[in-house]
């Protein structure tokens, strides 16, 4: 075996870059979050203030509102994507001509820049030029105004996310469904199991690993949504679509209170990790021991 020195040399550039732009920023906000640092204020020095930033955070109405809409958004968007994605994947399992073609079209939104998705949906839903408000108005007399109605803005954001990311769920579930062995299904049908029973007792347990992987990835991505929303609504009206990322970009970053901003960033990072970890522990871990 060759000496490991060459191995370390080959790894070094990667590790140095990821250290400088990944680890150092992380340690830096941990350190800064315990300090007060406001270059624009009367006292521009960095002062140690203990946990004051975190104490302030707990009572920050803007942050809490943002946290609330983010969790609501993630729940609605990811659940809808799972249900629609599963139904589409099932619809895809039938035999019909042009499968590859439809699959290709279905993959298209995945490669689009989030900001372009935002721009596309802005052009679709802005009251004066959008086609959706126009037809909603002339067919149902419903006035869709994402600039004024908080509910409309929120719903359109969820629909945009569904449009953008359902294909990912569909395609991962197609891959899972294709790889299922046919025997248990045939056996269940012979035994007279209903469609619902087959779904809950055979299909779901068998595709669960793929399903959970998809849920994690969607959850992680939905929690970090920023670009699309900045483009579509800018976080408004009010705080209706001011998700955590938008909150940091719009409210926290422009203010020059760096200590407090670090505390907010740190908590957002922490929440992302905790949400993903909770899901992992609660849904995936208990099933693992049974397997071996």
């Amino acid at each position: 075996m060759r000496s490991n020195r060459l191995g370390w040399i080959l790894l070094a550039p990667t590790m140095i870059i990821l250290f400088l732009f990944g680890v150092v920023p992380f340690l830096y906000i941990i350190w800064l979050s315990f300090h007060q640092w406001n270059p624009a204020a009367v006292n521009p020095d960095i002062i140690f203030i203990g946990a004051d930033n975190f104490r302030k955070l707990v009572f920050d109405a803007g942050f809490l509102a943002s946290l609330g809409v983010t969790l609501t958004f993630v729940t609605f968007a990811v659940l809808s994507e799972l249900v629609i994605g599963y139904l589409l994947a099932q619809a895809f399992m039938k035999d019909f001509p042009g499968k590859a073609f439809f699959r290709t079209i279905h993959t298209l939104p995945l490669i689009m820049a989030p900001i372009i998705v935002g721009s596309v949906w802005k052009l679709m839903t802005t009251p004066s030029i959008g086609i959706i408000p126009h037809f909603l108005d002339s067919w149902f007399g419903y006035d869709l105004n994402i600039g004024q109605s908080a509910v409309a803005a929120f719903v359109v954001t969820v629909i945009m996310d569904i449009w953008h990311w359902t294909p990912l769920v569909t395609l991962t579930l197609i891959a899972a469904l294709v790889s299922l062995p046919p025997d248990p299904f045939e056996q269940a049908q012979i035994d007279g199991a209903g469609k619902r029973q087959i779904f809950w007792h055979i299909t779901l347990p068998m595709i669960l690993p793929a399903l959970m992987a998809t849920v994690f990835i969607r959850l992680m991505d939905a929690l970090r949504i920023v670009d699309e929303v900045l483009m579509l609504t800018g976080g408004g009206p009010g705080s209706a679509t001011r998700f955590l990322g938008v909150h940091i970009f719009r409210e926290v970053f422009p203010r020059t209170s760096y200590g407090y901003g670090s505390a907010v960033s740190l908590i957002v990072l922490y929440l992302t990790i905790v949400v993903c970890w909770l899901l992992y522990v609660s849904m995936l871990a208990p099933r693992n021991p049974k397997k071996d």
Binding site: L11, I115, A213, D227, T272
Partner: protein, 278 residues
């Protein structure tokens, strides 16, 4: 395979495809309409195309600069992360050192953190800490190329690891017996065998860098601004010029569409950390 009327399925999927494609089609429609026609009753079918918006975008020196920046930043970044990822994966798959898998996992965690969290620390680091005299990395292409490594380098390592692991070690060893140097083994034996995997990695990292907005919007002011940030400038200013905005969007979309046709099969595997082979 279930049976049923296949044409019903086709009809259903035509409907789904319509829902997928219509918003993109509408973007194109807006981009080829003169401003005065935008506010009249929308017409779904395009009768005449008006290319002035595209001409305006191409004649705009600032936007041309943004386009060039986007091109340079994403190309250099993709080349850099693919090269470094290749070398790192070679080390990870060929050498036996302690904590190897921990290092691999650690690189991946860098991709999982929300980018919004890094806005503030990266901004402060680029302006205050990573500086030589008056030279800072803020608002430079070099700075953006390095910053984009935080999400693209883990991705390159993640996608290249199976490729490298799939090349038998015996090939290297046979070459060493014949007296080849490590450098020669990497460049003349391993690299050619990895080409397909490297191409996919290069293309996908390129499109991720091209699509990025949030970091570019906060870490650049003028010199290194990219096309995606140019797009948002047309929103924040009062009185959005919708046609121009749509035309810039189309320009941003075109490379992604070309790439889409090249690596369509690998997109899902790429987006799911390899959990699903598309």
């Amino acid at each position: 395979m279930k049976r049923g009327n296949p044409w019903l399925s086709v009809l259903f999927w035509i409907f789904v495809s319509f829902l997928t494609l219509f918003p993109i089609y509408w973007l194109f429609v807006i981009s080829v309409k003169p401003a005065v026609e935008l506010f009249s009753a929308p017409e779904v079918i395009l009768r005449t195309a008006y290319w002035q918006n595209y001409i305006d975008v191409l004649n705009d020196r600032t936007l041309r600069g943004y386009m060039l920046n986007s091109l340079i930043i994403s190309s250099c970044n993709a080349l850099l992360v693919t090269t470094l990822g290749f070398l790192a994966c070679y080390a990870l798959s060929r050498f036996d050192f302690g904590g190897k898998e921990s290092i691999f996992f650690w690189t991946i965690t860098n991709r999982m953190a929300p980018p919004a969290v890094f806005l503030l620390p990266l901004f402060l680091l680029l302006t205050q800490v990573y500086r030589i005299g008056n030279f800072t990395l803020l608002d430079t292409r070099t700075g953006m190329i390095l910053v984009y490594c935080t999400f693209n380098l883990p991705f390159a390592i993640w996608t290249l690891r199976p490729t490298l692991d799939g090349i038998p070690k015996e090939l290297d060893e046979a070459a060493f017996v014949d007296g080849a140097s490590s450098w020669k083994v990497i460049t003349e034996i391993v690299f050619p065998l990895c080409r397909p995997g490297l191409a996919v990695t290069l293309i996908l990292t390129w499109v991720f860098a091209w699509n990025e907005y949030l970091l570019a919007a906060t870490l650049t002011n003028f010199n290194a601004r990219t096309l995606t940030t140019g797009l948002s400038e047309y929103i924040t200013t009062t009185g959005t010029s919708w046609g121009i905005m749509a035309a810039i969007s189309v320009f941003t979309l075109i490379p992604a569409l070309i790439i889409f046709s090249l690596v369509q099969r690998h997109i899902v595997a790429g987006l799911t950390f390899g959990a699903v082979k598309g």
